[in-house]
Symmetry: C3
Subunit: 213 residues, 3 copies
């Protein structure tokens, strides 16, 4: 995913991606620790949370190599993050960490969604499929994390807008593209819409309506 050819913006983009991946990995480390998994379990759940969504998208779209094979440094970085967390993070840090990662997590949701839509559009997928690929990239890391931890995925039951932000953001991408905007505008629009909606939803404590009985 390359928004702009200038070296400075590339460095900024790379930094944002690393921060977002770390936020996703940290959500996995926290859940693994809560479930009292051992060191192996914590690492696997962190990897699933960080790389699961993009890997599932690439499996479905039949894309190789996976991005974590192309950017092997990211795999090492998450591995080191897991070890550092297990060495230095204690239960009293959990709540603070969870609140702190909400913001990079929202950024990650936006970036991963944009990357997923972009990838699917490049392969001439129909708009609805492209939007779904965006949502899968942004959301299914957390879904796989929760399935392995033997929970109903949080994204499906906490009645807060999360996947829906990605869904709307995906359609913003498609809409801008229909208007003839270049790829980096579409992506920026998608990231902004997803991130904005998510931040607004967290800030306002928005709830999805209940299924009425």
């Amino acid at each position: 995913m390359s928004l702009d050819p200038s070296p400075l913006s590339q460095h900024i983009q790379l930094a944002i991606e690393v921060v977002a991946t770390f936020a996703f990995a940290l959500s996995g480390i926290l859940e693994g620790a809560r479930k009292r998994l051992d060191a192996v379990g914590v690492c696997v759940v962190a990897f699933l949370a960080a790389f699961g969504g993009g890997t599932l998208r690439d499996l479905l779209l039949d894309v190789r190599p996976f991005f974590w094979v192309k950017y092997i440094e990211l795999l090492w970085a998450v591995f080191v993050l897991c070890i550092l967390a297990m060495l230095f993070m204690r239960q009293r840090h959990f709540e603070f960490t969870e609140r702190a990662i909400q913001w990079p997590d929202a950024l990650g949701l936006g970036l991963f969604t944009a990357a997923g839509v972009f990838q699917a559009i490049t392969m001439d997928m129909p708009p609805l499929v492209a939007v779904f690929m965006g949502v899968i990239t942004g959301v299914f890391g957390g879904v796989l994390r929760d399935i392995v931890c033997n929970e109903i995925p949080n994204a499906f039951k906490d009645h807060r807008p999360y996947a829906i932000c990605a869904f709307v953001g995906g359609w913003v991408y498609i809409g801008l593209r229909e208007l003839g905007c270049p790829a980096y505008v579409n992506m920026l629009g998608c990231v902004t819409a997803t991130l904005g909606l998510r931040v607004w939803a967290v800030w306002q404590d928005v709830r999805l309506p209940q299924w009425r009985n």
Copy 2:
């Protein structure tokens, strides 16, 4: 999957497939509602139930595009079904719906199994693998639905013939093919055997033998 070139039978076949897909999707909507998932969760579980089995088969056989990419209308239709169900279906409708979908579900099991065996045979898979692909197509949508809802898959623990009907139906396909019958006869035989066995099992309340201690 095309049983016959005449336009009338094609329309009938398409109608049956849509009904079967809707039955599978409804089973997902019901389970999602029972588990009190939010709107996103209900949709995801409905999609998994309707499209999960065929998608897993295509992943294993390395077939692209997925059938829900080729028939994008089906994806939209299930999406609309989910929204209508969430707007208009109430808990008092659940039991009736569950009983009502048993029959289209049995039809879907037959159709999806036949489609799975056909696909694998076309790719020169050995008979046992082809039969397994049929069973996966018919059964694993429900399995994925149950895994996401944090249940042991119903197909593996309710001691009623379900996957076994698909397994027998798959061998009927293989047997007819060995006898030199054309593809549409094999498929009709497979659908009839699977559907008949399943209807008989539901009607007679057949139980699989328990593991003796």
Copy 3:
């Protein structure tokens, strides 16, 4: 996977692989029986335990045909094993079986890990990815088995070295390869290290350190 061209060692290798696959399948049969699954569930869980790890590796590496398509006899053999187990195995045999399969299971862990690393190295994957593919091949059959049985995977929570043995064994493979050793030496080293570590861990009842609060 072929360690050596001589017919005798090939026969020995094949025999070891069959024993290891059976050990993995038996672990699935036992867990299925414990969870009181029906005949279908027991078979599916046995197949997942025996073939799930290698299948997931091949999905990720985009390798076809799967090894259970190439060696269809192995699929039949596990199928027969399931039926025999359901006919003749009773609850009083479970504990003995579980203890007895620890050793072939450790062998399977070593062999499957070596096969996974070998496969990934053949496809020019970076070392860390190759080691992960080895671990996935050895460990994820059991992980899928536990997910379907609605448990947190044992490999992630029992605080005993299992995946870690495979991880170390994978690096032994990479290390020997860096030293210029031929493939069969690398594989032997990997199997020996993984098996040795696992046997030592079981024998000494080694525990991974707890996450300190």
